[in-house]
């Protein structure tokens, strides 16, 4: 085997190693993004829990129920007319 072959193989190995390192860094970054999104979901769940647990949310629930009912009734009327 010539010294040229060795050089070629060493260069190829180095290039492969660099690729692996770059891929590892990319996957690591992806992992950080997923971790951040997971934290985001937990944060938003907390916000929703806090909001839905508030007195103002509970007190105004009849208004939301009335609105939902009104929409449903209107749709049914529209369907009948349509």
């Amino acid at each position: 085997m010539s010294s040229n072959d060795w050089e070629q193989r060493a260069l190829a190995a180095e290039a492969a190693l660099e690729e692996v390192r770059a891929e590892r860094a990319r996957l690591w970054q992806e992992l950080q993004r997923l971790q951040r999104e997971r934290q985001e979901v937990a944060h938003l769940q907390g916000v929703v829990r806090h909001m839905e647990g508030s007195v103002s949310w509970k007190v105004t629930e009849p208004l939301r129920a009335a609105k939902t009912l009104a929409i449903r009734v209107r749709r049914q009327l529209e369907q009948r007319q349509g």
Partner: protein, 724 residues
């Protein structure tokens, strides 16, 4: 041979279910002798005959002698077994493994005093009762797992117990077993009702364990007509007030919401049973009535002390007109004060310095062994404290991160916030970095270090962060970005000790300025590299003498940081104002108000572009640094503004000790006034100094800082840490 376990049933005219109950007890499959004990208080309906037919040992007492606590104490005394399982005369063991499950509960731990099991409703019970019982017993082990309750000793556990004691104290002798050894120490109390709740509370507060065993189930439920329900709940909640001091909330908003919530539970329970649509209307109307009555009974019952005696009797299902609070002795485990004149101390497990408590005993910096491969791209995790917009230290960190990103390295920012300053999620913090600090930063921002996974390099950036970074797992190397001598930020204090401790952890450091690196190397023996910050030349363009107004002096007066020696600057200006009353100092950098003996203006905290405008207008800039020199000096120098700083190694090593780049005043008001006055008077010399200063700053770019940091980190990775 003495029985190992006794099943005890207080009875009074209980013929309706007693035969079924006793037959179920006799059918128990348990590897121990079972004694069946019935305490009768004057039954006339055949109860005694039924008991005798099942071979029960019957002990009769006069009806007048019956009390819930007293009669059960009598049963405990008479019982041969070391464990006494109590049933009521209408609670039927659900299967033949009921008693074995009770005894199994005591094997869960050595300190178990009480074991109890779920109660399943009889088939004819109303949907409200079925739903309530299902929900109630799901409190422990989800209703399906064995659950041991014990009063914890930590602040958080005690606080939780105080918030919802029922989770720990609930015990029911409708279906509960008592260890005689524990009962000898804490017997039933002579209370009219709720004797089991009191026993549960006392046992838990004495430090015993209590066990819920899901297989120790009985069939038991009561249904009454509405008026009787009202009276029943009146009795129950009067007793809870007497023994647990519970007062049911009565509130024009919360009470209807509670009823609505209970009806909602019933609705979901009915839906799970397949009841849908219009079929729900009627049962939910019944639910609403039931829970309305329940809340009324609970509110009035828990305020029975305010109800007239005749009305009390009329409202009570058991016809009792008394109200006798039971004074439960204070548990030593819960005692919050030993001094009668002490103030309460709030219990909170989320203590600010918990990270310090957990950091000791001191440990070595944790890294994984590696061969010294410094090939990139690297994965770099930065742990930073929370920030305020405008924070200079954070701007530097984010600029360095950006520099690493531009060189192809991946970064993540963990915000370590033991003091709870931050309320924003990671995504918003990331946007803040990009919009308010350094555009283009790509690193994700994570809250805390709990989600830390791995990194080639983990970097601490401030003294508090050095503690968690030390213990992060799966890191090849760890470093400490030191921008200032943080011990100097504190007076003699715990914080000073802890900050200094971080310099003794053996971190490999990258310090801002050679001066800082020398201190870390010489005073603490640390491996120390250094970098110098760049300046935003776009934001701070050079301006010559034209447009500068003679007497305007730009003064960095950040009172929040004592190392800026603001009062020394003011003293110097006061001396100067006596000599030159026309001077007009313009202060900036602080949210605090100033009271001064000379005319001045205060911009407060303003954006860099506004400062740039001031630097181009003023004739002299005053910025003092008692530790690492401020970047504000660089920005003034970039803008062509002649600067006066304080002399000292910290400034001299970075900006030259000769005074060619900035004027260096002694730390005396008169000398400060002299230096400012000299610059105001000799504009030619001042302009020459400003030009030299601009050239100096131009050499110090952020790209250069990025190279210096990357070089230091490469050194870390190429030369693995020597392990002790």
């Amino acid at each position: 041979m003495a029985a190992a376990v006794t099943v005890a049933i207080p009875a009074y005219n209980g013929a309706r279910y007693l035969d079924e109950v006793l037959a179920a007890v006799r059918a128990q499959r348990v590897g121990a002798d079972v004694e069946l004990l019935v305490i009768d208080s004057g039954s006339t309906d055949g109860t005694l005959e039924i008991a005798a037919a099942h071979g029960a040992r019957v002990h009769s007492i006069p009806k007048a002698e019956f009390s819930h606590g007293g009669t059960r104490n009598l049963a405990m005394q008479l019982a041969e077994g070391e464990h006494v399982a109590f049933l009521t005369q209408d609670a039927t063991p659900a299967h033949d493994g009921w008693l074995a499950a009770m005894l199994e509960g005591f094997a869960a731990a050595e300190d178990v005093a009480l074991v109890f099991g779920p109660q399943e409703p009889r088939p004819d019970a109303s949907h409200m009762i079925k739903c309530e019982m299902e929900r109630h017993f799901a409190t422990w082990g989800g209703g399906t797992e064995l659950d041991v309750q014990r009063l914890g000793r930590t602040a958080q556990e005690v606080a939780e117990y105080r918030r919802f004691p029922g989770r720990w104290t609930f015990f029911s002798d409708v279906n509960g077993c008592v260890a005689k050894a524990a009962w000898r120490e804490i017997p039933y109390r002579p209370v009219a009702y709720a004797e089991d709740q009191l026993l549960g509370r006392e046992m838990i507060e004495a430090g015993y364990a209590k066990v819920f065993h899901p297989r120790a189930a009985v069939i038991h439920s009561h249904d009454y007509p509405p008026a009787q329900f009202l009276r029943r709940y009146f009795d129950e909640f009067r007793s809870l007030r007497e023994v647990l001091d519970h007062i049911e909330v009565a509130h024009p908003v919360y009470t209807p919401l509670t009823i609505r919530g209970l009806v909602g539970h019933d609705k979901r329970w009915l839906q799970r049973q397949g009841v849908q649509g219009r079929d729900l209307v009627r049962p939910l109307a019944v639910s609403a009535r039931h829970h309305g009555i329940r809340q009324l009974g609970a509110i009035v019952g828990s305020r029975a002390d305010r109800v007239p005696r005749p009305l009390r009797r009329a409202l009570s299902l058991e016809g009792r007109d008394s109200f006798t609070p039971y004074d439960v002795p204070e548990s030593p485990l819960l005692a919050s004060t030993t001094q009668p004149d002490s103030r309460p101390v709030r219990l909170d497990a989320g203590w600010d310095y918990d990270f310090i408590t957990r950091a000791y005993p001191s440990r070595e910096i944790a890294t994984v062994p590696h061969a010294g491969d410094a090939g990139g791209p690297w994965r770099v995790a930065w742990v930073v404290p929370p920030w305020r917009i405008g924070s200079g230290g954070h701007t530097t960190i984010f600029r360095l991160i950006r520099q690493l990103e531009l060189r192809g390295h991946s970064n993540v920012i963990h915000v370590f916030d033991p003091f709870g300053h931050n309320s924003l999620p990671g995504s918003e913090l990331r946007e803040q970095i990009r919009e308010q600090f350094v555009p283009g930063v790509e690193a994700e921002v994570l809250l805390g270090v709990e989600d830390f996974d791995s990194a080639d390099l983990a970097m601490a950036t401030e003294w508090t962060t050095a503690f968690p970074v030390r213990d992060l797992p799966n890191c090849r190397e760890k470093g400490y970005l030191v921008q200032d001598i943080e011990t100097e930020f504190f007076a003699t204090s715990a914080q000073r000790i802890w900050a200094e401790e971080t310099y003794r952890m053996g971190y490999r450091c990258v310090a801002y300025t050679p001066w800082m690196a020398d201190i870390l190397r010489d005073d603490y023996g640390l491996e120390s590299h250094w970098f110098e910050c760049g300046t935003d030349l776009d934001v701070f363009p050079f301006a010559g003498e034209e447009g500068r107004e003679g007497e305007i002096i730009a003064v960095y007066a950040r009172r929040e940081t004592p190392r800026r020696a603001v009062d020394l600057a003011m003293a110097g200006l006061a001396v100067l104002a006596q000599r030159r009353p026309a001077i007009r100092p313009v202060l900036f950098g602080s949210r605090q108000k100033s009271v001064l003996p000379f005319a001045a203006e205060d911009l407060g905290v303003v954006a860099p572009r506004r400062l740039s405008q001031l630097y181009r207008q003023a004739s002299v800039g005053l910025v003092f640094s008692l530790t690492t020199h401020s970047l504000v000096a660089h920005e003034m120098m970039a803008s062509g503004l002649p600067v006066v700083e304080l002399e000292g190694d910290n400034v001299g090593s970075a900006l030259g000790a000769s005074g060619d780049l900035v004027a260096l005043a002694e730390k005396r008001p008169d000398d400060i006034a002299d230096h400012v006055e000299r610059l105001l008077d000799d504009r030619e010399a001042a302009a020459a100094m400003a030009r030299r200063a601009r050239a100096f700053v131009e050499e110090r770019t952020w790209e250069r800082a990025g190279d210096q940091l990357e070089g230091a980190l490469r050194e870390f990775l190429a030369n693995p840490r020597r392990r002790g």
